[in-house]
């Protein structure tokens, strides 16, 4: 009888470890199979038939129903230019140029992978809106402010109520070179403009 209880206890401990390690893998394993380009993390593995079980589980968790690389490249960033987490209270500037794709967008997501709830209706910037305000002298360069207040920004993504957030850039119908070599993509640069000392 005692041996039975002991066995049951060991199995419970083992099962617990199995669940904890799997969940940790799904939460922290976002770096596996991934390539970083200036703080933006892209994946060469995406949810197609060739994916291994870990990649498939990771893609399912953070990008269920995402498109494969032939159709779209996704790059995600959760840190600023110095490696610190992106924070709702800070003001950042994204400085970008033409992207090697038919259409692109940058979108903010809160830590729960959904859009932050703040009533600002400013969750993204995209190629069409940037083109509308482009001037010839910009030569395709564009600037987007990511901050809790719009201020005098032309293109603005509201970080209000987003906690420690993530930015995702989508490149729809990426050009061949971009798909083959992430390093060839000039993704937008991020700059911290200001940041209150106490975490909000």
């Amino acid at each position: 009888m005692k041996a039975g209880w002991k066995l049951a206890g060991l199995i419970v401990i083992g099962a617990g470890l199995g669940v904890v390690s799997a969940v940790a893998m799904l939460n922290q394993g976002m770096k596996i199979g991934r390539e970083e380009v200036d703080g933006w993390v892209g994946s060469h593995v995406s949810g197609d038939r060739t994916a291994d079980p870990y990649s498939r589980a990771l893609v399912a968790r953070a990008g269920l129903l995402a498109l494969t690389q032939a159709e779209t490249l996704y790059f995600n960033r959760t840190t600023d230019e110095t490696g610190k987490p992106l924070r709702a209270a800070c003001t950042y500037q994204l400085d970008g140029g033409p992207q090697p794709a038919r259409w692109w967008s940058v979108t903010i997501y809160a830590a729960d992978n959904y859009l932050p709830i703040n009533g600002d209706d400013a969750q993204s910037a995209d190629a069409t809106r940037v083109a509308q305000t482009a001037k010839p002298e910009d030569e395709g360069r564009w600037i987007v402010r990511v901050s809790p207040q719009k201020g005098d920004a032309v293109h603005w993504i509201s970080s209000k109520n987003s906690g420690n957030f993530a930015l995702t850039i989508r490149l729809y119908n990426p050009y061949d070179h971009a798909r083959k070599d992430f390093k060839s993509i000039a993704l937008p640069r991020i700059k911290t403009v200001s940041c209150p000392r106490t975490p909000a």
């Binding site: 498939r56 259409w103 859009l115 989508r170």
Partner: protein, 172 residues
């Protein structure tokens, strides 16, 4: 083998088995949840559902783009193949098919299908209907079709919403 190493072995083997079970079942579980949500708890299966413009309160799927108009169809091939159509678009549009294990088994965009999309999804062992131009073989009976149309503004969303009105997802 002493008692301690035997105990450790039991813990280790259980941990590995459970770990793999969780990893392997995660995509299917998450797809089952998505299937349930997109089909309104199973009431709208094999039916094209047009989502309203993505807003901060959208919670059906993680990481939706607010710049795209999404339509979806939770399909079930148990009673036979399902036909999916999507009207042609003046800007980016794509139709993609996902199996129950979350694999993106097929995708086509407006450049590849300038006159719109018309495809038939068939299950394992089901014969492809004669005359179908585009046949997608699904390894699983259930799955999800997702249609994306570029719609970064209220005006472009209204146009996409009009274009997609007659898009079909229905048993053959």
């Amino acid at each position: 083998m002493n008692a301690l190493s035997k105990s450790l072995l039991i813990v280790l083997v259980t941990a590995v088995v459970v770990h793999l079970a969780v990893i392997l079942s995660t995509p299917n579980l998450l797809m089952a949840v998505a299937f349930k949500r997109l089909s309104a708890d199973g009431q709208k299966v094999n039916e094209m559902v047009h989502s309203p413009r993505t807003s901060e309160t959208s919670r059906t799927i993680v990481r939706l783009s607010p710049d795209l108009a999404y339509s979806s169809c939770a399909f079930d091939l148990s009673k036979g193949p399902v036909r999916v159509t999507a009207a042609k678009a003046s800007d980016y549009m794509s139709v993609s098919v996902y199996a129950a294990n979350s694999d993106n088994i097929f995708a086509v965009n407006d450049h590849q299908a300038p006159n719109g999309v018309d495809l038939v999804i068939v299950g394992k062992g089901q014969a492809a209907p004669s005359g179908a131009a585009l046949v997608v073989q699904s390894p699983t009976q259930r799955g999800i079709v997702l249609e994306r149309r570029l719609a970064p503004s209220a005006e472009t969303f209204a146009a996409a919403d009009l274009a997609r009105k007659r898009d079909v997802c229905a048993p053959l």
